[in-house]
């Protein structure tokens, strides 16, 4: 039987998604293109999760946005800011440390077994 990640999975994905979005937005992208690009990376994100996240990141000054109205359909493009890059670096440090701790713990456990 598969473990029911449910709520725990959502909690973990939230943090990961923030780092991933900040990493993706080195190149300006709009929402739908981001959903497609994330899908191509083998990951899945609900659009109704991505857009509120982008709005929060923008509100805090970590990403900036511009509307492109050159085509029939206006699109909102997002790009990472300098503050966003600093945040990404800090989040990556945390993530690396967590990864290191978990690897250490699982290694110790396998030794005990």
């Amino acid at each position: 039987m598969e473990p029911e990640t449910g709520h725990f999975g959502t909690e973990m994905n939230r943090g990961f998604l923030q780092i991933m979005v900040l990493a993706m937005l080195e190149k300006d992208m709009y929402g739908y293109a981001m959903v497609r690009a994330i899908g191509e990376l083998g990951y899945e994100v609900d659009e109704n999760t991505l857009y509120p996240l982008l709005r929060r990141l923008e509100k805090n000054g970590w990403v900036k946005s511009t509307w492109d109205i050159r085509e029939d359909r206006p699109r909102k493009f997002y790009g990472v800011t300098e503050a966003g890059r600093r945040l990404r670096a800090e989040l990556l440090d945390i993530w690396k440390k967590q990864d290191q701790i978990l690897r250490q713990l699982l290694k110790e456990k396998s030794h005990v077994q």
Partner: protein, 315 residues
Amino acid sequence: MSNKLEAYLEELSHFLSGREEREEILSEIRSHILEKAEQEFGAASDESLDRVIASYGPARRVAEKYLDGRPVIAPAFKRHLFRYTALLFAFHFVLTLAAVVFKESFLMFPVFYIPSMSPFEALFYLPMALLFDLGVVTLVLYLITQSKKEVRLPWPRFSVDLEEVKTAGRTIGRIIGLLAMTALTGVAVYFYVRYQTIFFVNLNFAEHHPIFTPEAGRWYSLILIGLWALSAVSLAVKLVTSSPWVDAFKEGFSLVLLGLIFRQPLDTALGAQLPAGLVRVLKPSLTITVLVICIFVAIDLIKALVRIGRKQLAK
């Protein structure tokens, strides 16, 4: 453009009302849905848009993801909601009883206005008072939560244990109580069927003297039998479940039954054969007795409701 898309965006707009960036959010979602329909289904037809909207999720859920998620009442204050309401209602209840007994109105600016009322009217007034008290406490806690200030609210403790602890002694006590209440109800039903009342001045049944007139005697007897039967049923149910709802229903129904006593005016309910001295004593004593019982039942009802509230919070 699909009417369904417009309806969906309108619904979203309703749930996002109050947010400055509402129009921008809606424009972005509109653009996304149209592009997805074209890219994944070939064209933005009614059918494809319906499918994309369905996959985007219900409007309320989507809107909630944009909201800050700040609760109406801070989780730390949820326990205060029930306890403060219980205390306020207890105060309200006592004042209501005073208004009934002394036939006076009470005004305590700005929260309380308790008009002079009959016991029967009080039965309808009290549930309204409970809702009012809940509303007042909710409003205060809401304002404290929204102020985002570090407020430490006092936590009054009841002297009684509100938690149900199941022990062997308690179960045996309930079985004995159940047997006693069943026997009492049975005997009362026997007397009622035979004499149409269960209230007597003397114990000589060959020449019995009922306390009340036949009509009042039937009314009061049925109410008392109902109360005893209710106790027996609740004791039986509590042998299999410790749910506080059992107590809440029992005390709630008991309060209604006790209130029905006042539908039969006590002034004309006493039997004509009773000595005048006894009538003088009986009238106020019976009223006070019923009111005191009402207070105890109401306290038990509040305790049961508080336990229900706490269990819901624990979930």
